[in-house]
């Protein structure tokens, strides 16, 4: 804590300067930070541009579909989409550091026991893949750290205020071990989802979606020569089908010289790691969209009902409680069954419907969690003060109430995200929700469930452990954020004891 000296010599005597003016006066730290950031972005520029373009293309397509559906007439966007697709292909052609082209792990021996060809520096596929995966995760953490570092640079050199209440919260979070653990797990999960195509030993397209249209080249020991076969044939040969059947366990090669970090799935024998990495994207999509919908509804209800109270509050309570009384899983099953065959269910193999259904049924839980803080802040005198000088209710809610509940929203949102992931997986386990070929973690568990007690134990166990880990990670992150926001609860749970223990002297 810096003392509140008065007058403070460090304080900018002219508070009106803009951020650009402040940076211009002392460009050193910003330039150093920007240079490193530019390098970090440049090595992945192609992938970033491609990702951005594909998001734009999805949005254009969705808007066209919406407008077309509303007016009954098709909207001619094919040209735009084709242009976007071309641009994306061009962006993908730009070499990036962390791609499978730069560090390839798919190759084959040239002779029995002989050296590998096609892999990075002739390394064994396992080592090449491990190197790439390690680099990708390191890159993800580096980017995350550098963004945070950017905030620190801003705070130290360019922020107009010497101190804001956020600083203390950030410092508290930095001392929160459990919260940091959660953050690490969440970053790993996000990195897996973001880098899924580059991270997996093979691509979803090659291995999961259209395996029969791709070839795998391998050294055929029986024939004693290098041969080629469709991926789907190779997959069938390397499935994990439990006791008595073939099995490719974790960290092992199949007969085609392909390395499987998590082993393979049962027939038709897809690669489990590729499946899970691609599935992380689906989970993230469903989780973020569902929580986005639930969060928006919850915030709207919380702010409006806390500001106006009375009948408005009562109506919100009745509406929320009505939704809460519905048995969640049954409603999801009903929605999944009802939308079968509907055009909406074709978006992302049904992930969109699952996300919408989860968002619409989960908001009351989130709303209940932030209702208390909203009512608390609505009762503060500063809300009356805003009213007394004629502030618009909407502005009052946004400026004076939303920041006070945003932290709680983050806490309960991140905790509830775990529940959404579990619900999505549960639907997939029941063969509802997200449909093949789009991978989903719950389906992997469902596929491996008969083999848990056999040599193919890994099929269900690994995704199960991962779901548990990710959900725990989000909960830990939420715990950390809550303790950072509200040190009183932290003091009760003993986290602050160490901090206060030194004050005895």
């Amino acid at each position: 804590m810096t003392g509140a000296h008065d007058p403070d010599p460090d304080l900018d005597p002219n508070p009106d300067t803009s951020l650009t003016a402040r940076v211009r006066r002392d460009p050193g730290p910003a330039a150093r930070w920007g240079a490193v950031m530019a390098v970090l972005v440049a090595v992945e520029a192609g992938a970033l541009a491609a990702a951005l373009l594909s998001v734009v293309a999805s949005v254009v397509a969705a808007l066209a579909w919406l407008v077309g559906g509303a007016t009954g007439a098709g909207v001619p966007v094919e040209g735009v989409l084709a242009a976007l697709d071309g641009a994306r292909a061009a962006a993908e052609a730009v070499p990036t550091l962390l791609s499978r082209e730069t560090i390839p792990n798919q190759g084959h021996r040239t002779a029995a026991g002989g050296p590998w060809t096609g892999t990075f520096l002739g390394l064994e596929p396992a080592h090449a893949w491990a190197l790439r995966a390690a680099l990708i995760y390191a890159y993800a953490f580096l980017i995350g750290y550098w963004l945070f570092r950017g905030y620190l640079v801003f705070r130290r050199h360019y922020r107009a205020a010497e101190w804001t209440p956020r600083d203390d919260r950030l410092d508290r979070f930095r001392d929160h071990g459990w919260g940091r653990f959660g953050l690490v797990v969440v970053v790993l999960f996000l990195a897996t989802a973001a880098f899924a195509p580059a991270l997996a030993p093979t691509t979803p397209e090659r291995n999961l979606v259209a395996p029969c249209q791709h070839q795998v080249t391998y050294y055929d020991e029986a024939a004693g020569s290098v041969a080629s076969t469709p991926v789907c044939t190779a997959n069938l040969e390397s499935a994990s089908n439990g006791a008595g059947g073939p099995n490719v366990g974790p960290l092992s090669y199949d007969d085609y010289g392909r390395f499987h970090p998590f082993g393979t799935l049962p027939t038709p024998g897809k690669d489990l790691f590729t499946f899970l990495a691609a599935g992380a994207r689906v989970s993230l999509f469903v989780g973020l969209l569902a929580m986005g919908i639930a969060g928006t509804l919850a915030v709207a209800f919380a702010l409006v009902s806390a500001y106006y109270r009375g009948p408005v509050d009562l109506a919100a309570v009745v509406a929320g409680d009505s939704v809460m009384t519905l048995p969640s899983l049954l409603v999801l099953i009903l929605v999944a069954a009802t939308f079968e065959g509907h055009p909406l269910a074709e978006v992302y193999s049904g992930a969109l419907v699952v996300a919408l259904a989860l968002g619409v049924t989960r908001w009351p839980f989130l709303w209940r969690a932030i209702r208390g803080p909203s009512l608390g802040v609505a009762g503060r005198t500063w809300i009356d003060a805003a009213r007394s000088f004629g502030q618009h209710p909407a502005t009052t809610m946004r400026r004076h109430m939303l920041p006070a509940i945003a932290g709680y929203l983050l806490v309960y949102g991140s905790m509830m995200l775990g529940g959404v992931l579990v619900a999505t997986a549960a639907l997939s386990f029941l063969n509802l929700g997200v449909q093949p070929p789009t991978p989903e973690w719950g389906r992997a568990i469902s596929l491996g469930e008969p083999y848990v007690a056999t040599q193919s134990w890994h099929v269900a166990t690994i995704p199960g452990v991962l779901i548990t880990l990710v959900v725990t990670g989000f909960n830990a992150l939420g715990d950390g954020v809550r303790d950072a926001l509200d040190p009183h609860t932290a003091a009760e749970s003993g986290v602050a004891v160490a901090a206060t223990g030194g004050d005895g002297g």
């Binding site: 509140a4 008065d6 007058p7 403070d8 304080l11 900018d12 005597p13 508070p15 009106d16 107009a160 205020a161 010497e162 101190w163 804001t164 209440p165 503060r380 005198t381 500063w382 009356d384 003060a385 805003a386 009213r387 007394s388 000088f389 004629g390 502030q391 618009h392 502005t395 400026r399 004076h400 920041p403 006070a404």
Partner: protein, 439 residues
């Protein structure tokens, strides 16, 4: 009247005309489904002249803050009207009401809770300007600096957060924000409570300077009577949601008219400890104003209450009767226990209670038999768990004008009014009764 400046000059200056007029104002807080409705402001009349400071004094919970809030439009009156510059506030709506919001302002009692601690000081002071789209952003920044200068805060404080400010500084920020739109009227709710003496003097002088500079009209609410005496041109004494006495501050402090004013002023500690012996004791606790009194709101606790002619009793006996009435009032207020309720339904008195009451009321006095009969009957009602009946009975037996009629406005001096039956010619004046006639 030009509206183009965002209301800045919309209220023409000129002292001596009425800026705010409150007539028969009632503000109630609904107690929900189970609780009683609280009459925080109960039939209040008030007039505030342009450019003056009206002091408002009274004990905690008498409705001072509620009145402030009603004047700046934070409370919706149950009945009655607040007129600002001749127009009833309730008649203003839409853009007109928003413009009026810029003409009135309030400095809140709790400076901590009235400043959003997530926004820096500059943003807080600027917010009213933003809300009213006051001129251009550059002008607003300039104005914020001027305001901070005006309340004596260095402009460097603009980017500090309220949690880093001292109590006095926060109070100054609250004042700066209230003045941002150059209001004509500012309600100051305990502007210096909780500040230490030097800071208090600073804030008070600041308020006086700002009034001179901008021609502001103040309603100054304070516990501390010396603050009001120092700053207010006129003073109003409030009790249970209504004004009991009002007049020029000096005259009112020098020669209080209403018995309640006597009591309040007698509670100011004098320079010597011995002078505290002049203090007039006040019986009972301040009543929660849940019911409308049929007579004077102060009657139950008044040390100068008029005694009915029907009984010629000595002071000691009257004191005991007052005590009994106080007990009845208290029992009406609190919810009866299960046992008392059962006893009331069965119509049986609890003997011990009756004996206790008799002891407390009758011990050491010897009232005439007729009076004693009345007292016994009231005690029986009380012991049987019927406090409301006991109250009615006692009022009928021992009540006077004070309990039956609301006192009229009595002119008690130049521009002075007091609501007390004792100002009528047939009674002794409150000052004579309390032995504190104007010195």
């Amino acid at each position: 009247m030009s509206e183009s400046d965002g209301g800045e000059a919309s209220v023409s200056a000129g002292r001596g005309e009425t800026l705010i007029e409150v007539s028969d104002l009632q503000v109630r807080y609904d107690g929900g489904w189970t609780g009683p409705t609280v009459r925080a402001v109960d039939g209040l009349d008030l007039r505030i002249e342009r450019g003056e400071t009206l002091g408002l004094v009274g004990e905690s919970g008498c409705g001072k803050t509620t009145l402030c809030r009603a004047l700046v439009g934070l409370e919706r009156p149950a009945s009655g009207a607040v007129r600002f510059d001749g127009t009833p506030v309730a008649d203003r709506s839409g853009a007109d009401r928003r413009r009026w919001r810029g003409d009135v302002a309030m400095v809140f009692q709790d400076a901590d809770a009235s400043l959003d601690d997530r926004l820096p000081v500059g943003e807080l002071v600027r917010e009213p300007l933003d809300a009213h789209d006051w001129k251009r952003p550059a002008d607003r920044r300039e104005r914020v600096r001027d305001l901070l200068d005006a309340v004596g805060l260095d402009r460097a404080w603009e980017r500090r957060y309220p949690t880093r400010l001292s109590a006095g500084q926060r109070r100054r920020v609250g004042v700066a924000r209230a003045l941002a739109l150059r209001p004509a009227f500012v309600a100051l709710d305990e502007p210096v409570s909780g500040l230490d003496a030097s800071v208090r003097a600073g804030v008070l002088n600041l308020l006086a300077d700002l009034q001179d500079e901008f021609g502001l009209t103040y309603l100054l609410v304070a516990h501390d009577l010396s603050v009001v005496r120092h700053l207010a041109d006129r003073t109003a004494v409030m009790y249970r949601g209504t004004i009991l006495e009002r007049g020029p501050t000096e005259a009112l402090f020098a020669d209080p008219a209403h018995p309640y004013t006597h009591v309040l002023l007698s509670a100011i500690p004098g320079p010597e400890p011995s002078s505290s012996s002049d203090r007039i004791p006040l019986r009972g606790s301040p009543a929660t104003p849940t019911e409308q009194p049929s007579g004077c709101p102060f009657a139950g606790r008044c040390p100068a209450a008029i005694r009915p002619d029907a009984h010629a009793l000595d002071d000691g006996t009257w004191e005991r009767i007052d005590r009994l009435r106080e007990i009845a009032r208290e029992r009406c207020r609190r919810a009866p226990s299960l046992r008392e309720r059962a006893a009331s339904i069965l119509g049986i008195g609890t003997g011990a209670d009756a004996a206790d009451l008799r002891g407390a009321v009758l011990d050491g006095i010897d009232p005439p038999p007729a009076v004693r009969e009345e007292i016994d009957a009231a005690i029986d009602h009380l012991a049987a768990g019927r406090p409301a009946q006991a109250r009615r009975f006692l009022r009928a037996a021992f009540g006077s004008e004070c309990d039956r009629e609301r006192p009229a406005d009595h002119a008690v001096g130049e521009e002075r009014e007091s609501h007390c039956h004792r100002h009528r010619e047939e009674f002794d004046s409150p000052g004579d009764v309390l032995g504190r006639s104007g010195e």
